[in-house]
Point group: C3
Chain length 159, copies 3
């Protein structure tokens, strides 16, 4: 709390389950982040933070994250979740999340427009954009997630 | 943040209010946790964490928790909230929440199935399961809650 | 985590965007808090906490907050968000949030009633009440927010 994250990882995944909550759990597992206790946050990319691959972490860790989550119990439904980070070097950036009843490409295009607007309304220039997207076609109960995980050190948990 | 909880308490409660938010407040009061500032988290039982009775805490404490919450303004509506913890000794476990327009027994049965599936998809065995459930029949605006509170020390706040 | 905030700031704002999430971002910007990573919390005013003007903070800060948020994509829709703090000197207090499809005055009146009930059900007396409200009339996609920010020190971040 009251800290500045030093690194961010982007992941995405999708899955099926008996219920939408179990499908959410499988989607997180697909994204290799199912054993984290997420604290959902709103969406600022801290100044100087690095984008890093998912580092090692212990199960049960309390970790702040921005995430997009969409679930559906309508067989045949196509759903997608996207997360996007827009970086303005020397300043901070923005993180946007978006979900659609549609394709990964649609979710990705939408989140990119949102990142651009998020930077524009702050008067920040876009130096780099990274997104992560997952798509799922529902069988019984399905879920797609896209997550930006905040880490306390440039390489993850180690300081 | 970026810590591993060492103990978990399960509570549940229900109540009536002028509005659904006030009913939520009364339900938390019924569960003896109304004076906590909850940070909602997703749902992993940290390895080695104990299940303990609700310890003492100061009003206004910032505390991570998993919770199920259901509110209704339809007189006569029966609502229930359940929280369930599945423990796999020597490994971590899962915490699931569920709400229904129905009875406590239905909510409890559903959350138990979800805990079982949550462990199964992780390849973890179920050594112990604990649930907490509350049911409410709405008069004006009602709410039922079930909460898993995360503590930093094996006995609560004291280290 | 597991701490007691020492001060609270109340702000409110509104805005338009291409999407409801971007409108939320603009509303936060209008309230001068768009560059914070909010961790949403439930709603207890810690004992002895001060109400202070918005202090300085670095972009990207992780900060616990209570917030009311309403968005709409229906042109002409009037929306309002209110946050209210009720203080009982020598004890703790409550923080309530409320949103309406209606005016700032309606949102303010409703949140004041909620604060009064929140104190009454705890057996606390109302010594002081402070609210913040924002109203917006939607053009394309609009949002109104009202936020109570929790600070670790009586003057904000500095201890």
């Amino acid at each position: 709390m009251w800290q500045l994250p030093k690194a961010v990882s982007l992941v995405a995944g999708h899955g099926e389950g008996d219920t939408e909550l179990n499908a959410f759990d499988r989607a997180l597992q697909d994204a290799r982040v199912a054993d984290i206790n997420f604290l959902r946050v709103t969406s600022v990319m801290p100044p100087g933070a690095q984008i890093i691959d998912l580092p090692r972490y212990p199960a049960g860790l309390l970790l702040p994250a921005v995430y997009a989550r969409i679930a559906s119990s309508r067989p045949g439904d196509r759903i997608a979740a996207a997360i996007g980070v827009g970086i303005c070097r020397d300043r901070h950036g923005v993180i946007m999340e978006h979900t659609v009843h549609g394709s990964a490409a649609e979710a990705d295009a939408a989140v990119r427009r949102m990142v651009e607007e998020g930077l524009r309304i702050r008067g920040l220039t876009l130096d780099e954009m990274v997104t992560a997207v997952a798509e799922h076609t529902v069988q019984r109960a399905g879920c797609a997630v896209a997550v930006a995980l905040f880490w306390p050190a440039p390489t993850g948990l180690a300081s």
